[in-house]
């Protein structure tokens, strides 16, 4: 038995190690040389104290001066330093005044680099010393249109530095981001179905019948069903819902920003390269009903919706680039808070009126996102207000007289004016702007964060997105650009550029690199393991805290933060579980802080207030055990007999059906298909009797169907 157990244990440990390594370095496009892990020669950057100042110091203290100080020669000083630190100096060269790079190896074999560093740091001649780390060029995708995706880069003030974030992670296949929108074009080659190696999960269509029983809004001849394909949402005069407009393909554009297939030598890059997108169709022609939006939000989060099969792929992030004017209605407040309390991040566009934040972005629990110009000021159309949590690029054109739209947000799209046409990309001439595209930028960043720390829940994601944001907002130097103000009502519109403040544009400008760094910190959790009574011991547990994926928590520290009198003692203050004494009355209430540190020195803290009868904290009792989210299991379709060339015609790999004309039926017309089927069957029927029977059964079925519709 023992002979079997031992190899199995080693195998398990090996698999665990592989898993941890995989989680820690999740960027296949950024390979580190294996030798970099434990090089024999260590490289340090050393800043030496100025020799003359040091000489004067030593003269004053009577300390004996070394030979290296008498001659202010960098090389001599480096040799002397190495000698004193018991290191063998292999090479040294200057990179600035008193700053040298030294290549050293230990005289004692097997010495750890941190011990060598500590001896150098302790030398009186050294101001500071840091490891000379290998650095890499910022990760960039090979997608040909990525160079135009200014918002992913770091040059413009509001750009999110996704390239910097990709150095740490390109996302994870355990993350699901729902796009509650107009549906999606599954045939876009830069999106595609997950079963065909793409990003798109099956999703669901929640667009119900209109009040008159028609499917004018749905525009796909039926109500709720399992097909969230976007049939188009073009508007004609007779639709009576505003000016005629071409189809928007809005959900396809939003999806591309979040997670277009990336580094595939085609089209654009998404913010996350690996997360799955769950298309939830709730809008059609002339928008959609709030009830369908709310049903779609619930379903996306994994909650049940009567009459609809449960979602097999619940989302951790829900993107909502839609809304309506007015305060948060009761139904939206209910649903958003219900979903957010499950830990799901609900990211919502603020609106495009330049006025108060629309609903549901203004609902408690939602993360409202305002739109920025490339320069970091509020883009004219973006709504604004205290409900905004963060801002992100919304696209702006600069040229207003017909020139190219310089700061459009490039993404996936379709060129069909009514029904679906060819798959295309937006550009400076096929522009794409709106707060609709600010929120998917944030949703995509949240997807990256979850890839490195899958335990993060809605409130933590919001806090860390804000923590990692670029601050402060730039103040426009252009004459006549005002500072934005809190709208006083729906009449108070600011439709021109204004300088953002934290009162109206949230905590800052979304920054992917900063947010991922914030996500990499551990999560502190506190559980009160005993009842709280005056003057008695209270047991506090921090063992439910968790580190990011691939990391472990190495230390716990409990400290008294604020106390009215002498700080009360803490027993086991450096352990996961500590004990404190509850005060005898309210006047003695005090606050304890738990600080957790992981194996690379990243920290998080949580506070708990200890009163005579209770202990209150906003920290979770436990963090969860899904720091590394497991990849979704997506069954793959067998490849089609002939694939279209990847860079050739962009018509897609699925039949788009009819609807190319004006006012037609949108996608594949079932009436036409059934008519053709009837014709074929009739032609094939061998006798008149069988033809008759077929027709009778068809009519019976239609009667049944009609009766079902009218009940």
């Amino acid at each position: 038995m023992r002979s079997i157990v031992a190899p199995l244990t080693w195998l398990s440990l090996a698999l665990f190690a592989v898993q941890a390594l995989h989680a820690a370095e999740d960027n296949p496009a950024r390979k580190r040389p294996a030798a970099d892990a434990e090089p024999a020669v260590q490289r340090f950057i050393v800043k030496l104290r100025p020799a003359l100042r040091l000489q004067a110091q030593q003269d004053a203290t009577g300390e004996s001066a070394t030979a290296s100080l008498r001659v202010d020669n960098g090389m001599n000083r480096m040799h002397a330093l190495a000698d004193r630190a018991r290191l063998s100096l292999d090479a040294a060269y200057g990179i600035g005044p008193n700053m040298q790079v030294m290549h050293v190896s230990p005289i004692a074999r097997g010495e750890r680099p941190e011990d060598m560093l500590a001896r150098l740091e302790a030398d009186s001649e050294v101001e500071y010393v840091v490891p000379d780390r290998r650095v890499y060029a910022h990760m960039a995708s090979n997608d040909p249109l990525a160079t135009g995706q200014w918002y992913l880069q770091s040059v413009e003030k509001s750009a999110i530095d996704a390239q910097g974030a990709w150095d740490s992670t390109i996302g994870g296949k355990g993350v699901v981001i729902a796009v509650v929108d107009t549906g999606v074009r599954f045939d876009h080659p830069d999106l595609r179905r997950a079963t065909q190696g793409g990003r798109l999960l099956p999703g669901y269509d929640f667009v119900s019948a209109d009040p008159d029983g028609s499917f004018r809004t749905a525009n796909d001849s039926d109500g709720r069903d399992s097909d969230p394909s976007d049939p188009g949402d073009w508007i004609v005069e007779t639709d009576n819902c505003g000016a005629p407009a071409d189809s928007s393909w809005h959900g396809t554009r939003v999806s591309g920003i979040i997670g277009a297939l990336s580094n595939n030598n085609q089209g654009v890059a998404g913010i996350t390269w690996s997360a799955y997108i769950l298309p939830v169709r709730v809008l059609g022609k002339c928008g959609g009903y709030n009830s369908d939006v709310l049903a779609g939000i619930r379903w996306a989060s994994g909650l049940s919706v009567p009459g609809v099969p449960d979602n097999p792929y619940p989302a951790q992030v829900i993107n909502i680039s839609l809304g309506g004017e007015g305060l948060c209605d009761s139904a939206s407040a209910d649903v958003i808070s219900e979903v957010a309390s499950r830990g799901v991040l609900v990211v919502v566009s603020a609106g495009n009126e330049g006025g108060p934040v629309d609903s549901p972005a203004n609902c408690p629990g939602a993360m409202g996102i305002a739109g920025l110009r490339h320069a970091g000021t509020k883009v004219g159309f973006s709504s604004l207000g205290p409900e905004v949590k963060l801002s992100a690029p919304g696209g702006n054109c600069v040229n207003v007289n017909g020139g190219p739209c310089l700061f459009s947000l490039d993404t996936t799209a379709n060129d069909g004016l009514t029904g679906p046409g060819n798959s295309i990309y937006t550009s400076q001439t096929r522009t794409n702007v709106g707060t609709s595209f600010s929120s998917p930028i944030v949703s995509g960043i949240a997807g990256l964060m979850l890839a490195v720390n899958g335990n993060l829940k809605s409130t933590q994601l919001i806090a860390r997105l804000q923590e990692g944001a670029t601050k402060p907002f730039p103040v426009s130097q252009e004459p006549g650009v005002p500072v934005c103000h809190v709208p006083q009502g729906s009449f108070d519109i600011q439709v021109t550029e204004c300088s953002c403040t934290t009162q109206v544009c949230g905590a800052g400008m979304a920054n992917a690199k900063g947010a991922v760094q914030a996500a990499l910190r551990p999560i502190a959790a506190i559980n009160v393991a005993s009842t709280v009574a005056p003057g008695l011991d209270v047991t506090l547990q921090g063992g439910g805290s968790a580190a990011a994926c691939g990391r472990t928590i190495t230390s716990w520290l409990w400290t008294v933060q604020s106390s009215p009198g002498t700080p009360p003692p803490i027993t086991n203050a450096d352990s996961p579980t500590a004990t404190v004494l509850a005060p005898v009355d309210d006047t003695g209430t005090y606050t304890v802080r738990l600080t957790v540190t992981d194996d690379v020195g990243r920290t998080d803290f949580a506070d708990i207030t200890i009163g005579p009868h209770n202990a209150t904290t906003s920290a979770p009792a436990t963090t969860g055990n899904t720091a590394c989210l497991a990849d979704l299991e997506i069954p793959q379709d067998s490849p089609p007999p002939s694939q279209p060339p990847p860079t050739g015609g962009m018509g897609g790999d699925e039949p788009s059906g009819g609807g190319g004309g004006g006012g037609g039926g949108g996608a594949a017309d079932p009436v036409l298909l059934i008519g053709l089927l009837v014709a074929v069957v009739l032609m094939l029927a061998p006798s008149r009797k069988q033809q008759r029977q077929f027709i009778q059964s068809l009519i019976a079925r239609l009667r049944k169907s009609l009766s079902k519709q009218t009940h």
């Binding site: 929108d181 107009t182 119900s208 019948a209 009040p211 008159d212 029983g213 028609s214 039926d222 928007s248 709730v282 809008l283 002339c286 009903y289 709030n290 009830s291 709310l294 049903a295 619930r298 909650l303 049940s304 919706v305 009567p306 009459g307 680039s321 839609l322 809304g323 309506g324 007015g326 209605d329 009761s330 139904a331 209910d334 649903v335 566009s349 609106g351 495009n352 629309d358 159309f381 739209c405 702007v433 709106g434 609709s436 079932p670 009436v671 059934i674 008519g675 009837v678 014709a679 009739l682 032609m683 008149r688 033809q691 068809l698 009519i699 239609l702 169907s705 009609l706 519709q709 009218t710």
Partner: protein, 118 residues
């Protein structure tokens, strides 16, 4: 074969018409001279959505409620109809909301995406 083709020619339009009819339920009649709105209704905790409760709500608020679908186990979509001059059923909704069994009743407003005008 010829008969089959003739039959198809005769029947195809019928099939088309019949199937088209399947796609649209009959128009729901508006209350005479009144209002008709699609609303969302949530009942107070502990109140079950039974026929009796809905009938009682209708009679007390002097409205008609026609169930359409559910957005969640506790959020229901109804067509609200009421008599009298009441644009957008504001008064009818107010009467419904006065009933203690109603947590809230509000108009099922339309939502639009935030694709900006260029």
């Amino acid at each position: 074969m010829r008969i089959a083709r003739l039959l198809f020619l005769a029947l195809a339009p019928c099939v088309w018409l019949l199937l088209s009819a399947c796609g649209s339920a009959p128009m729901l009649s508006r209350a005479e001279g009144g209002c008709s709105e699609q609303i969302m209704l949530s009942l107070a905790p502990g109140v079950a959505r039974t026929d009796r409760v809905i009938q009682d709500l209708q009679s007390r608020a002097d409205v008609q409620l026609e169930y359409l679908r559910s957005a969640s186990p506790t959020l229901f979509v109804y067509r609200l109809s009421a008599r009298g001059k009441d644009p957008e059923c504001v008064n009818a909704l107010a009467r419904l909301n006065q009933d203690s069994r109603v947590r809230f009743a509000e108009s099922d407003t339309r939502r639009r995406h935030f694709d900006a005008v260029k």
